[in-house]
Amino acid sequence: MQLELKNITKSYDDTIALNDVSFLLEPGVYGLLGSNGSGKTTLFRIISGVLKQTTGTVTYNQEDIRANSDTFRSILGFLPQDFSYYPDFTGMKFMLYIAALKGINKNFAKKRCLELLKLVGLEEVKKKKIKKYSGGMKQRLGIAQAMINDPEVLILDEPTVGLDPKERVRFRNLISSFSKNKIVILSTHIVSDIEYIADEILVLNKGTLENRGPSSELVETIHGYVWETEVENDKLNEMLMEHLISNQKHEGNRTVLRIISKDKPAPDARQVQPTLEDLYLYYFREEAER
């Protein structure tokens, strides 16, 4: 089971959304890390066949997914970003509708939908209209619909948006239990979600794949770049202007700063163990500075 992207480029007039992106994915959970506009959604839409790349190919088990789109779609589960549901459908009806679109037998679909609604904690509200669902409930419904056909490739674009911490834990457990012998790709802004469940992280920055690897390996790439130092509060603004700050904690009239920098930012600064959040800031410092 292999999903391979070869030299994928997507351009709109004079803007390049994706620039020569190539990677090979085998069963496992992959976290796509990128700031807003980095090309994550574009990449997902190309993989799901909704958007055509300008150049390059996407193959699944060595077969071009565009040439075998029907076959590929039957093993695909996709949760797009920012879509509206049918507000007058109940949760159960929406699931059955998607099941019908995925070509699932009616009797099996009913059983499967109930099972998934139970898994995502929507069993009790399955007969309620979607317009009465909260944002988190809708997101869980979206996750459930993506899994109806027990897909070999599951793409989740910002699946944890709107989920509270308890729901995020449930989601992580769900993905972990589901991901055996499957390719799961998910994007999120919440770095900890990826850190816990992703076997590998792909860093996408301005349409280019900058790095990939297990979380621990990636974090190691910024080893020696993360510092902690204490500064007087009156010098705080100066430090904030000069450095990329990942965290600040006030302790009386002093502040402990976590700084990402290749050079030692202060004489008393000491190196600390980097985290994935530091890595995110390191790669997407422009967005952090904005």
Binding site: Y86, D88, F89, L101
Partner: protein
């Protein structure tokens, strides 16, 4: 497929725009039927007009010849001169016949009123009547038949108005079908499913077409029911269209009775509806919001009418006359399609078949275009 069609129909039925439009349409429909059949000119002041009309029609029904015309008009002027002017109901049936056959040299009504003032009456022999031949009625192997026509003219008027109502309602239904999902950003989800491109598109086409057909059948069913109440059944169905004096189609070259004309009108409207549905579905598939889809589809529906105001002859004019908005009124398609200068071919039936084939072709082409578009749909 049946399951997907069921869900697609449900999506349309649950749409608030559709529900709102349906409620408004019911009021419009009630208005059309009320004005067309209940508030009709025929009822007169005392609302006994229809009863009187049918009594006159019963006496006048039969083979259309000069003698029958003379008999009708004899009775007409007799009744006119015997009734008190204040209580005299308007006999529209005989008035139309008189208007056709009595020469305009002198005003016959002035003549009768003057005679009545002098305590006298004029007779039919004192009035100059034109003959059937002089007027130039079309002739066939079988003689023309005369019967109730005023009610049928009202029926045709209602049928014309219903076509506009059904068309706009169907445009409203169909413009939602694809653009509503696009505006909700549902396409990435729907089109990445196994059946999301082929079966779903076919299901949407079936659902929209079925709802439009159901509306067509329901609205025309109601209209036929209301007409049968108004007309006291379907009396006059077998009267020749040439003897519908309200429509003035005396020279219409094809032997058709009023029921046949109605059936042709409904068949033409039905095929036109399929073309309208197909075009609107295509518009819906290429637009990003139901509102823009609605505006474009209504614009396209009306456009041929506007263009015929600018182009009044030649092949383009002929082509424009093939579109529903230019030929939906019963009198219009009967007159346009029997005149070579208005249509491509010389004979009515040829032109009718050409129009129907053209509209069916439009429907097939646009249904296919929708299917192809959604099958290969790519986000911009």
């Amino acid at each position: 497929m049946k399951t997907i069609v069921k869900y697609e129909m449900e999506k349309i039925q649950q749409n608030k725009t559709f529900i709102g439009a349906l409620i408004i349409s019911l009021f419009v429909l009630a208005g059309i039927l009320y004005i067309g059949f209940y508030y009709a000119q025929l009822y007169g002041i005392d609302r006994k007009g229809v009863e009187k009309y049918h009594q006159i029609v019963e006496k006048s029904t039969g083979e259309f010849n000069d003698q029958r015309v003379k008999d009708v008009l004899t009775n007409y002027i007799e009744r006119f001169q015997s009734d008190d002017a204040n209580n005299r109901g308007f006999d529209l049936f005989s008035w139309e016949i008189a208007n056709t056959f009595i020469t305009k040299e002198k005003d016959v009504y002035d003549q009768m009123n003057n005679a009545m003032k002098q305590g006298d009456k004029i007779t039919i022999d004192q009035i100059n009547l034109k003959s059937i031949e002089e007027i130039g009625f079309a002739e066939f192997e079988e003689p023309l038949k005369m019967g109730s026509f005023v009610t049928w003219k009202d029926f045709y008027n209602v049928t014309n108005q219903l076509f506009l109502l059904i068309s706009i309602l169907s445009i409203l239904v169909c413009c939602l079908v694809f653009s509503s999902d696009t505006s909700r950003n549902m396409n990435p989800l729907l089109l990445s499913t196994r059946c999301g491109r082929k079966q779903l598109t076919i299901a949407k086409i079936i659902a929209a077409t079925s709802i439009s057909i159901l509306l067509f059948v329901f609205i025309h069913g109601l209209s036929i029911g209301a007409f049968s109440v108004y007309n006291g059944g379907f009396t006059g169905w077998d009267a020749s269209i040439q003897t519908n004096f309200s429509m003035e189609l005396f020279r219409f070259p094809v032997e058709l009775n009023q029921l046949q004309v109605f059936c042709i009108a409904v068949a033409l409207q039905f095929i036109s509806l399929l073309a309208i549905v197909a075009i609107t579905l295509y518009v819906s598939s290429i637009t990003r919001s139901p509102f823009s889809s609605l505006l474009i589809a209504i614009g396209l529906f009306l456009l041929p009418k506007a263009l015929t105001q600018l182009i009044k002859r030649g092949p383009i004019y002929h082509l424009l006359n093939l579109f529903p908005i230019n030929n939906y009124p019963v009198k219009d398609f009967l007159t346009l399609m029997s005149a070579k200068k208005e249509f491509f071919l010389a004979q009515f039936m040829q032109n009718m078949i050409l129009t129907m084939v053209f509209l069916v072709a439009i429907a097939i082409i646009f249904y296919f275009a929708v299917y192809q578009r959604m099958k290969q749909y790519q986000e911009a």
